[in-house]
Amino acid sequence: MKKLIYIGLAAFALTSCNLYPGGDTRTEQLDVVVTQYDLNADFSTMKTYAVSDSVKPISSDPNSPPSFIISDEMSNVVIQTVKANMAGYGWTLVDTSMKPDLVIDLSATVTRNTNVYGSYPGYGWGYPGYGWGYPWYPYYTTVTSYEVGSFVLVGLDFKNIDHTNQTIPVLWHGLAQGPIINNVDDPLSRVQRDIDQVFEQSPYLNVN
């Protein structure tokens, strides 16, 4: 009978293992890269492009200026990574005055995400909305708040500007997004890797 109890306890221990990502999650594992293109765009007929000479900080609140800056070093990494990838895809960099086929606008945003978790410490689950446990365990509420940084790359069609409605068609855009953590080992490499990924998952830009 004792053996059975031990088997039962072992089974319960196995089923109680923590499922959800916790403290061992690396920051870069939380990064997300998203790209999208206009299905009507024919990139194969394009050859020239221009790119912003800096990354513009954009406030998430349209009524107030951005509360952050993008360092020259960071801005330079983004621009050089864009240029390297576009060159690899066969594009020629020109000045905007030369009416390029594609103009890549670079910007950055910072937003704050706040989560409220409820959990029963002592059980491995500790997961928002679940917290399966027993009533005699104290229920804890944890609030986490973190900043999310995004680099936004927008490919604009300057040759088809709608002057009447004052709109510029967007042919492609890329988003590299991740939590802003001050003690990341090498933030420049992280940004470079994410911008590289923006192009890697946009093979339709390859005009070679």
């Binding site: 959800y20 939380l30 990064d31 997300v32 299905l39």
Partner: protein, 202 residues
Amino acid sequence: MKKITISFAFMLLFCSSILAQGSEFIASWHIGIPSQGITNYIAKTSFQGFGFEYRYALNQQFTVGGSISWNVFSEEKDISTWTFDNLSVTSHNWRFGHMVPILVNAHFNPMRNTGNPLQIFMGGGLGTSYVNQEIWPGMYTYRHETWSFVAYPEIGLRYVMSNETALYFSTQYMFLPNANYDNNNIGYWNLKLGFSFGAHRW
């Protein structure tokens, strides 16, 4: 501690009452093997599942009863790219699937009360199941929740250890039509190892 004692006392009372009825109460550990629908996003076998079942003996060979169980599927996928039409997303992924079926069941045990401690049984059940599927790409969460009809066939072995206790080993295939996040069917295998309290030789 007091609540544990009270709960345990209720459990003993419950077991005593089912003993009197010649029926049994089974607590089981489930190993879940993903099949249709689930394998689209989780391929990993789950060792995180358990269930509770009650079987009432209608006669010497047939039982009817009910059960509730919980299977948790999970898998971590390293960074990958998913493309949907003109949209591509790259991220590290955590994926989860929770199934909580609440069922009525019926079983046929042709060797019950024949004196043989090792008995085969077969049966099945139907009911409803809570389904929660989550994909966590990076910082984000995509969640699909629904309630679904569920049905299952089951076959297994019952090893009677004493007048009050038995071990169960069985396999069942859980089928949940149109319950997947993409509206397709969900299916998974359960390997169940259970311990039963009740009247096994009445």
